[in-house]
Symmetry: C2
Subunit: 197 residues, 2 copies
């Protein structure tokens, strides 16, 4: 019913069914994972009114299983990409796999899919950092970085009268920083990836 694909690796389409409504994929060598794709094979839809919550489980330093809710797949949205790289130090969250005694091997993580009522899914909140950043969030990042840097730098601006003797330090006129900021901002708006060239 489900497929799972670690970006850069071969697709997996045979999860272990650990309970009537629970499926688990083993993900070896999880430290090198960046993104995971979870999808329905299209062979069998969810029963009416049901969907799947998708969890990522990895063993923390003490070997304890840490489960984090990544997101959902449903008949209307039968596939999703999750970013795993930001999760490794995250805290565990409530999860429906607790009772199961799943084997924990240090380098192996798991993707667990639990089939539940859509109403239950609607009350659950996935880990924010699991969402794949799309262009808008990258553009959002570049804008915030630019503002953050500009505000930080201008907060240190001093006039000549306010200066204390500091012969080794170089100083940049504040209007130069402003000119650079406006310039960079304009180019960023024209082409969000101009800086890559």
């Amino acid at each position: 019913m489900f497929g799972c694909l670690v970006a850069g690796r071969l697709v997996q389409a045979a999860p272990q069914q650990v309970a009537e409504d629970k499926f688990v994929f083993d993900i070896p060598d999880y430290e090198s994972i960046n993104h995971v794709v979870v999808f329905m094979l299209g062979t069998m839809p969810f029963p009416e009114g049901m969907g799947g919550s998708v969890y990522f489980c990895y063993p923390d330093q003490s070997g304890m299983a840490v489960w984090q809710l990544l997101g959902f797949v449903t008949n209307e949205k039968p596939s999703a990409i999750f970013k795993i790289s930001g999760l490794k130090s995250g805290k565990g969250s409530q999860h429906p796999f607790g009772a199961m005694n799943l084997p924990q091997t240090p380098t192996v993580a798991q993707i667990g899919i639990s089939v539940e009522l859509l109403e239950n899914l609607a009350q659950q909140t996935p880990v924010a950092s699991a969402a794949v950043s799309s262009v808008d969030s990258f553009t959002e990042f570049t804008q915030k970085m630019l503002d953050n840097f500009y505000n930080f730098a201008s907060s240190f601006a001093v006039t000549q009268a306010q200066m204390t003797p500091n012969p080794s330090e170089a100083f940049i006129p504040a209007n130069v920083v402003l000119k650079w900021y406006e310039n960079f901002q304009r180019r960023l708006t024209q082409n969000p990836l101009f800086w890559k060239t």
Copy 2:
């Protein structure tokens, strides 16, 4: 041999074989696409020494097919995620599908896979914006932003001895730039999405 999955939609596993070594998936309603996953089904590997170049083709305003090289899949790297949202205004590039008269419907894009020698693939350069942005591209952006700032601003930097009287102007110490960057590096390592808050 190949599967293709638009994030949020059902997986597609039956491309049209438009030539002995060329396969094409139709992607309807391409304007709403963010990420596409292309992967080998694992049923049949590439012949020894060969791999697949992956292209995205969409019709520009005049209905002309614009082909862009997204990247590659090989036996060693049998799957990849590509970001499509940054491509729509991009320029077309050389591609091996030219001779084929592929039907062009305004809202339908295509993913084309061309099986080629690995040596040929090594000479080809995918579109930069097709790579899924991850923490490394955040760091890459920030470093380039600061290099850009430094190149621009350092030409205006003056020590106190070099300053001419200019009571109304404010000045920013150059070491502030370094301090900001160290701060940024620390926070990004702690939480790659610190900037979202």
